[in-house]
Symmetry: C2
Subunit: 399 residues, 2 copies
Amino acid sequence: VPLSARSLTSAGVLLELIRTGRANTRSELANVTGLARTTVAQRLVTLFAHNFVIEAGGVPSTGGRPPAFLAFNSRVGVILAADLGATRARLAVSDLAGAPLAERTLEVDLRQGPAPVLERVEAAFRDLLEQVGRGAADVRGVGIGVPAPIALDRGAPIAPPLMPGWNRFPIQAWFQERHDAPVLVDNDVNVLALGEHRTYWRNVENLLYVKVDAGIGCGIVAGGQIHRGENGGAGDIGHIRLAGHEEIQCPCGNVGCLEAVAGGPAIAARLTRAGVEASTTQDVVQLALAGDRQAVHEIRATGRHLAEVLAFCVTCFNPSAIIIGGDVAAAHEQLLAGMREMIFKRSLPGSAAELRVVRGRLGDRAGVIGAALMVAEVVLTPESIDQAVEREPARLQSA
Amino acid sequence: VPLSARSLTSAGVLLELIRTGRANTRSELANVTGLARTTVAQRLVTLFAHNFVIEAGGVPSTGGRPPAFLAFNSRVGVILAADLGATRARLAVSDLAGAPLAERTLEVDLRQGPAPVLERVEAAFRDLLEQVGRGAADVRGVGIGVPAPIALDRGAPIAPPLMPGWNRFPIQAWFQERHDAPVLVDNDVNVLALGEHRTYWRNVENLLYVKVDAGIGCGIVAGGQIHRGENGGAGDIGHIRLAGHEEIQCPCGNVGCLEAVAGGPAIAARLTRAGVEASTTQDVVQLALAGDRQAVHEIRATGRHLAEVLAFCVTCFNPSAIIIGGDVAAAHEQLLAGMREMIFKRSLPGSAAELRVVRGRLGDRAGVIGAALMVAEVVLTPESIDQAVEREPARLQSA
């Protein structure tokens, strides 16, 4: 029972039935809802007037005129989505089903602070909107993924190690001032996990998405939904303590944290000490891609460190799959090979029996696709649709 | 949208609206469902005929006769619930809201194997039924918690270390042969977690219930639901490796497992080596309750070991609360004191900021109450109610 909807059979609920394929004709809608045909017809008038529903040809019938097939019009509006990385932002204008209509990559440096970065993102959003022939009124939501812990109620990073200058900056409010639509901001690993789950892993209920980059973090899908925990901190595995590395101080205040031992900058520092010049995660990636023996060795070690922590997560959480992403993970197959072996060795046989440990299939598009889907799922709830229908006079634009 | 119900406004859905207090008069039901008054009345006739609904006086009104207040009749049937422990079984006959009508505790020894133990449980169920004046036809479901990993599809323990002789024994089928009602079997920590959550912690979405006894395990509530993981293995924290204890072999095949270091038998063995005679978890508990210095010292150490693993779980899962239960936990306050300190020291400040670490409030009744609630939630789904209504002619028994 969707407690959020105005009624169990509101216009928003009817749209959900149509959108999810549970009822696609007037008579199916009447059967599933128990409503009278005339009531179904009234609610469809509203949904048609707002362009949420279109008639899409007929369905096979045993004779006579086929009943009209009702479909969700995912082009009734668009979503602006961005996945901000330390050095690169992926942007998209997507339809309301989360499918990108136009995409762009920007080179950015998050250390410049919020204003210059977000201005460039916003300018690129305007370009992309123009490119697909849409305007401000078409924007139904904005979704942003950032590599930082996020206070979900305010959409602001909290003490983000990779984003000095962004602490408590209200990213949500910043976009809200510029768009008359819901704005959602979340940790990058959560949107990455959502993107992969909704695209390729819908048939499993529980998975972990692990990003291995300058930072190390994990997005959790539990029971088909993103698990954020009590204050958005779930999956922060970069700060789990690795045994035997207590001499390494982590900026978080603890010692021996996974991220301080195995994140990109930590690898770069070890390479430099070993005589191989490297200062950033990108340097490490370039060296590994070029086959540098020392860099590959370090990435293999990172795989083992990760696996020690992930074995713990597997025993705790018993997921169906672990999806690996991030630049360091992409740099060399050795990471995954080392991880797989150690995870299976350390986990309980039962909990790892059918576990799959694989690379993400969406690559570095997972975040921007996930950010759009995060917004789509919120703006298409029956409650949101009911509110949209009540708030505005019907938009009689052509679909 | 409850995909499981026959329709969005079936009799089963109406019962859910009534039961959860969302609609308790005929006109509220019509408003919430969008159904015509006559349709609401038809479905209520069915629910009344099956005794699922009763009229319970009037509600305040501004004048005239008050509309009849509709209430769920939780006494329409009963649930048989049992929480099997290594040496003690707690049993109850509960109403359909999960409230115990009669309870009993049996001394058992699970090592005797399934047949003798389950026969005694079944005999006690029959006694309890008689005690509350109910018969076989009143039993709407059976719920059993056992201290073992469970294959949920078959309700059978899988390689249970504390229950030799029970491996793959079909507990579910055993009770199913004796009762014409759904039988659910689950790991004890899951029913413990459910019992505490539904009774005292409904306002939080995420909690861990940690049982510290002969075995150590953890029940997880994520997003308000029990998180079992891909094959029921979630929360098996007794088999997470403690750093620095690699010399201790665990029966599971790994080394240094939390349970092998800090479970009841491990403590007893260390006490014996230190010259204090102890062979079982109960011995340890008795010694600690009597204030034996060595036993209290060991229990404090157990608290620290647990905390090391739980700090990891807190960082991973970011729960609102950790509830501690089990005999070892009950034996001495030192366990909790040591745990709290270490969990907060080791966890990320953000994820532990508002964490509560407390004893379970239901004590050793949590399991049997949780087992009843687990069954209640399944037999009262709209789908189950709709099936019950269709399957049988109306039971016109008095409520």
